[in-house]
């Protein structure tokens, strides 16, 4: 971070009516308020909410296409997809599973934010029919840094790491991994082509967060998807909220 401390304005004699006002306001407070309100709504309507995070292209939408198709006749699933622009991903999920509610949040109107925040979720929730929703899955904007710090009101956080991204990412982006309950190693079908050691990834993830669950899967071949579906089936509400 380029520090700007010391860049004071000149205290020349012209600022005679200058006054200092103490504010001491936490700028994260607003997000926490929206998140708490979201959380209350989710609890009231008996919805369980999962926040899915990863770098762009790790396979979030591909996994949700499979997941939506699998669950469309089994449980009431709704999906909210965040992206900087275009409705493409929400449309992809609708194409894969017509019976699943799939709505897009375009962050272009929020200054092209590289993450979703609780206010964006709050403003998108009226587009979701709660009576038709048991589980709400939120696909966050592709980014391994910023979304980790923003609680949306969710029950669980899932982080994806795809094989082509490399097995050094846990150490490089530990905040994301320490905030997640489940790590999905995706694109396992590419393991032969890449120098990727899933055991090393699991070990490093556990070092950061002892109780993290890890699953290996491929949306392309279907490997490991059964375990992921079980995880979704077993979802429970979270007792405490995130910081």
């Amino acid at each position: 971070m380029a520090s700007l401390s010391g860049r004071h304005h000149p205290k020349d004699g012209t600022s005679n009516a200058m006054k200092k006002i103490e504010i001491n306001k936490d700028l994260k407070g607003e997000n926490q308020e929206y998140a708490a309100a979201n959380r209350e709504l989710f609890l009231k309507h008996g919805m369980k909410v999962v926040n899915i995070m990863s770098s762009p292209g790790s396979g979030k939408t591909a996994l949700l296409e499979k997941t939506a198709a699998h669950f469309q006749d089994k449980l009431k699933l709704a999906v909210l997809v965040g992206d900087i622009s275009t409705n493409r991903d929400a449309e992809r999920i609708k194409l894969a599973a017509g019976g699943v509610q799939s709505e897009q949040i375009v962050t272009e109107k929020y200054g092209s934010a590289c993450h979703l925040d609780a206010r964006m979720i709050s403003e998108a929730l009226p587009r979701i029919d709660f009576a038709q929703t048991d589980i709400l899955v939120i696909e966050n904007v592709g980014n391994l840094v910023c979304p980790a710090g923003l609680y949306l009101g969710e029950d669980k956080r899932v982080v994806l790491l795809s094989v082509p991204e490399g097995d050094d990412k846990v150490k490089k982006y530990p905040v994301m991994f320490r905030e997640a309950e489940l790590l999905l190693i995706t694109k396992m079908d590419l393991i032969c082509a890449c120098d990727f050691d899933p055991k090393k990834v699991e070990a490093e993830a556990r070092e950061i967060k002892g109780e993290i669950e890890v699953l290996r899967l491929s949306a392309k071949t279907g490997e490991g998807l059964a375990e992921w579906y079980q995880w979704i089936d077993r979802l429970e509400s979270r007792a405490t909220s995130y910081e």
């Binding site: 971070m1 401390s5 004071h8 009516a17 006002i21 504010i23 306001k25 936490d26 200054g111 070092e207």
Partner: protein, 114 residues
């Protein structure tokens, strides 16, 4: 680009404060920003300048105080600043079993108005 949202929060807050105190002009804003937030100061300044344009905060100076990241290690028990930015590894024993004990602040401390 998460500096925009933060800049928006800052400008909204300081304009409301200035109005409450019947100030005509906001000259400077003192911020305390923890490293954990991964904020690019130049991007924050640009966004604040843009949002301040045409308001009582136009031309406002940002005085950014940086709060370093600190971790407490569960393995060796020591506290310190990680060697690499945003890599939460104990600087003494390289363990990743660390708890973040500092660097999360994102506060508007004060403003100067006239």
């Amino acid at each position: 680009m998460h500096e925009y949202g933060i800049a928006k929060g800052i400008i909204d807050t300081v304009l409301a404060e200035a109005e409450k105190h019947e100030a005509k002009k906001i000259k400077s804003i003192e911020l305390l920003i923890g490293e954990f937030n991964n904020i690019v100061a130049d991007a924050l300044v640009l966004n604040v300048e843009m949002l301040a344009h045409g308001t009582a905060a136009q031309g406002v100076k940002l005085d950014i105080k940086r709060q370093p990241l600190r971790v407490k290690c569960a393995a060796c028990g020591k506290q310190g600043e990680p060697k690499e930015a945003l890599v939460f590894v104990c600087p003494f024993c390289d363990s990743m079993a660390v708890e973040i004990t500092g660097g999360k602040a994102l506060n508007i401390v004060s403003i100067e108005v006239e």
